[in-house]
Amino acid sequence: MPVRIGIVCPYSWDVPGGVQQHIRDLAETLVELGHEVSVIAPADEDRPLPPYVVPAGKAMPVPYNGSVARLAFGPLSTHRVRRWLRDGNFDVLHVHEPAVPSLSLLACWVASGPIVATVHTAMRKSRVLLATQPVLRSALEKIDGRIAVSEAARSTFVEHLGGDAVLIPNGVATRHYLRGDPLDGWPGEGGTVGFLGRMDEPRKGLAVLLQAFELLAPERPGLRLLIAGRGDIDEQRGKLPAALRDRAVFLGEVSEEDKVRVLHSVDVFCSPNTGGESFGIVTAEAMAAGVPIVASDIPAFRDVLRGGLAGELFTTGDAAALAAAAGRLLDDPARRAELSVAALDAVSDYDWGTVARNVLSVYETVILGRTTTTTVGIAH
């Protein structure tokens, strides 16, 4: 049975951001699954919007929480939300980041009926929230089902609002990565190892990969490195011996489309992170492209690679171990094909289709729990 879902985005639709991306992927997946979705978001009305987005007017830049955020609030936004709720006649209302002073909070305040809320970022308990608690409480108390995208985000619910939340991690839009044209001239005869991520952030581990390349390169004259990500290219290139420098190609920061092409331009993808990853989205994206993975043995990668069944794990920070593991894969096309299939299978757990189904079961639980009001309406 199709569900009519109203989703509220607190941040400007025109500005790129994690929450907006999440809502876009969720909404499109829910539509694909045959549900009716309407998203209300602060947006410039003159810009083209996806058919499921209803603009709530322009967001205003205001100081909040120590920086300037583009938010929508005030009577005008409240009117728009109210009208959207009335016209939508939704079975369930899904607000994102309800503790941010923007549309989501307004929607909670105005609406009655089944409400689900997702928290994305961790927020520390503050005196501010206490000061406005009566006002906030009346809005936030109406939430029936709570979702957190991470453990850290879950603690926000526990600390601020009491009670608990279901953990549903972010999805990976796997189908975006499945197909892609390799960049011209790649991966080449001698094999290519790829890396994606901030080059100047030590925890991303590019240094480990460069050392491993030094060990691999002498025996494999055709082997090349393809590296994409933000950072100082000359500084990174300088870490390699002069003889190897033209065998490492640095692309700098790449667009979303080029990222997919990069993933399809390599024989082996390397995630040499030394820590600090909670999920490893880039690794999951590479898996979705069906690239065989060599990754350091940190908990996040062990999870997503099914303990080594869906990719090779090597001792974290150990360049020799990385060189050995990557070498084995480069020499063994059959093993690479095997890992490619295993990676595609493993990453489907994180696919938006799976995530959206989990979110749908939250919707259904909340809708079923209501016996009197059947749809989302306007309070008082």
Partner: protein
């Protein structure tokens, strides 16, 4: 002959020292006044913050606006030193976003209780504007007086600190921007 010179010299010295002490006491008065002006500026800022806080917790605003305003008030109250003017400017911007928009203003004025709270915020903001003008004017004059050669050479300001200008965005009305 020499006596006349001595007497004249002593007289000149006495007159000069009178002049110097007069200059010193004038400078001292200036410092006192600048301090008083700073106190009234601080009081005006505190009053504005509490008026804004009252509006935020009135329950008459939508919760998003309430939260924004409460956050800005909290930051302004907690800030000290160099962060102070930034935090107070942020409070101004938050207030401008809340009550500066004519459309929003009309809505708020519809309710008597809210209209009163808004009027109080505006009044307090106007007082901040005035107090800051006076303080900066006095601070400027004091700084100028301290830089005069005689004052500088004899260090007539003693231990008194040089006043700093208080820079902030204090225009609540959108039209002023």
């Amino acid at each position: 002959m020499t006596w006349t010179i001595v007497v004249l010299a002593v007289l000149a010295l006495v007159l000069w020292s009178f002049y110097v002490s007069w200059r010193a006491s004038r400078l001292d008065r200036l410092h006192n006044r600048v301090e008083a002006a700073r106190t009234s500026l601080d009081l005006a800022l505190v009053r504005r913050a509490s008026a804004a806080s009252e509006l935020a917790s009135s329950g008459q605003l939508d919760p998003a606006t309430s939260l924004l305003l409460a956050d800005a008030v909290h930051r302004a109250r907690g800030a000290s030193g160099a962060e102070r003017d930034l935090a107070e400017s942020d409070l101004t911007r938050a207030l401008r976003a809340t009550i500066g928009d004519p459309e929003a203003r009309k809505e708020l004025a519809a309710d008597d209780g809210t209209a009163e709270l808004v009027a109080e915020v505006e009044d307090a903001a106007q007082r901040v504007f005035i107090a800051r003008k006076f303080y900066n004017d006095l601070a400027g004059r004091t700084v100028y007086a301290r830089r005069r050669p005689l004052v500088k050479v004899l260090r007539l300001y003693g231990g008194a600190q040089e006043p700093a200008f208080f820079d902030m965005d204090d225009a609540i009305d959108e039209s002023v921007e």
